[in-house]
Symmetry: C2
Subunit: 310 residues, 2 copies
């Protein structure tokens, strides 16, 4: 199945575009889940499958497929979305661990009981950890279907491992946890989010670009775009935690404030945070333009990150 | 640095061989630790480093290097031991998670306080999970130094992910946990250990063989050897839990009995368990001979698994 990529401009309907893209990502996730949990005992397959079925914005895989199209032009095949799904699997693993009692101790994720509330702490922790090698397998399998050369397939796996590892996402999870209950300055807050959110967002774009055979300057621009919108994404998340409603967010609004967590609004105020997010999005777009990466989708996604309300 | 591989026979000193091999593995682990934790925040580097420094038998990397020598002959370079260290990193991650309160809730590991007792549950869980992508990076880096072709390097990573994932080690961890407090029959007990211990042991041998460029029949023999000695290793572990002493084991003897865990001695009796271990070792050796894999080291290691007292 392929879907006509919409062209941007005044008539670009971002919401409809996101709905279509999300459907393709969800279809790809469903298609790879069997492979991801293959051979596991049923008591482990169940929590892994439950975690992967948790609804989500799927922003990372959508960015990955958009980066692929930005480099290659034209349509993205199902295999591109399966490659993109590998990033969502790593993201999902981080959410499963983040929700555990020893971390954020959350009962709800996107309106559903969290994995450990359904399956217990041990199965949730093991299912989360087991998603990492599963993601590697899904990534490599999709890249093989896409006839990505062996050397580049290695690079894809190392990129995903780096972004999802100690120096990226996991380091960020820990810094975020340790920042709770005390006031962080701008540099410390930026370091948390550069790792926790930014590393995997940037990797989403790099993986799509690498698989599509991007040159180094385009890859660098995609990385920079990813880091900038990653920062904006986190700022908007913090803003929505202050001004949003629990049912629209699918999680408990005001949780950051009640746990004394440092956030962009708490450091810069709401208006300051909004300006910072807008500046990051402007940087993201100018990086793309400077490298002559033309992508209506990536432009629309950048605007969406800034304007989303949930 | 290279060390002359000892030749087996009546004069083969297995203890001295193991001490030398363990030293090379420990040196390799120390050498890759910086790379494994590179870029992580200090609060994550510390528990990762602590876990990797925990003393251990290093049986998996020793097997990996022995498989490499069985295929290539001659010496194994430091890079072979760094490749082997990747397996120990995955094994280490499983121990960190196994010791957590939501799993076995152990206070001691090899005579030292467990990672979560020193660093807390959140950091221990995150450090454990972060060791997985770290192992992939170490494996790929060592394979690159060894000039392993890109396609084989991919195969190495997938092999490690499979053995260390839901269908291997992690599935086994969960089955083991769920088997506590109830009686398991022979098939169920065998399934637990085939996954929990056998998958990574077999992978240790396959990785060494693959990196050395083994043909399919030699690889199959190395896998079979690994599965058989993995079973024997587990049986002997269970026997030592009954007859051993806590200070020699570095963990609490009798723990299996006190937690009502099904073990080989509890299912087959001590003598039955000993016979079963001996039969597995005989199978391991006959598989090697049938594939014409000649390795004094692997023969000595098989005997060691059977005869070890701690």
């Amino acid at each position: 199945m392929t879907v006509q990529a919409p062209s941007a401009g005044p008539s670009f309907d971002t919401e409809a575009f996101l709905v279509r893209e999300r459907e393709r990502v969800n279809a790809a996730l469903a298609a790879v889940t069997n492979d991801a949990v293959a051979g596991a005992p049923e008591s482990l397959r169940a929590p892994m499958g439950y975690a992967l079925e948790t609804p989500g914005k799927r922003i990372r895989p959508i960015l990955c497929a958009a980066a692929w199209r930005a480099v290659r032009g034209g349509e993205a095949t199902d295999a591109v979305y399966r490659l993109a799904a590998a990033v969502e699997i790593v993201h999902t693993y981080s959410l499963v661990h983040d929700d555990l009692p020893c971390m954020d101790d959350d009962a709800l994720r996107r309106g559903r009981p969290t994995v450990h509330r359904v399956y217990g702490n041990a199965r949730a922790m093991l299912a989360g950890a087991a998603l990492i090698p599963a993601a590697v397998r899904v990534l490599d399998g999709a890249a093989r279907t896409l006839a990505v050369p062996a050397e580049t397939r290695r690079a894809l796996v190392l990129e995903l491992c780096s972004a999802g590892g100690a120096e990226g996402m996991v380091g960020g999870q820990l810094m975020d946890l340790e920042g709770e209950g005390r006031s962080l300055d701008w540099d410390a807050l930026e370091a948390v989010h550069r790792c926790k959110t930014g590393a995997l967002l940037a990797a989403s774009l790099r993986l799509g670009g690498l698989a599509a055979g991007a040159e180094e300057d385009a890859l660098a621009a995609l990385s920079a775009y990813g880091r900038h919108i990653g920062l904006a994404f986190q700022i908007v998340d913090d803003i929505l935690d202050v001004v949003g409603e629990s049912h629209a967010l699918g999680k408990t609004a005001g949780k950051d404030e009640s746990s004394l967590k440092s956030t962009y609004p708490s450091v810069f105020g709401l208006d300051g945070a909004r300006s910072l997010a807008a500046a990051s999005i402007a940087d993201a777009l100018s990086d793309l333009h400077a490298a002559a990466v033309t992508s209506p989708d990536l432009e629309a996604l950048a605007r969406y990150v800034l304007e989303r309300t949930h």
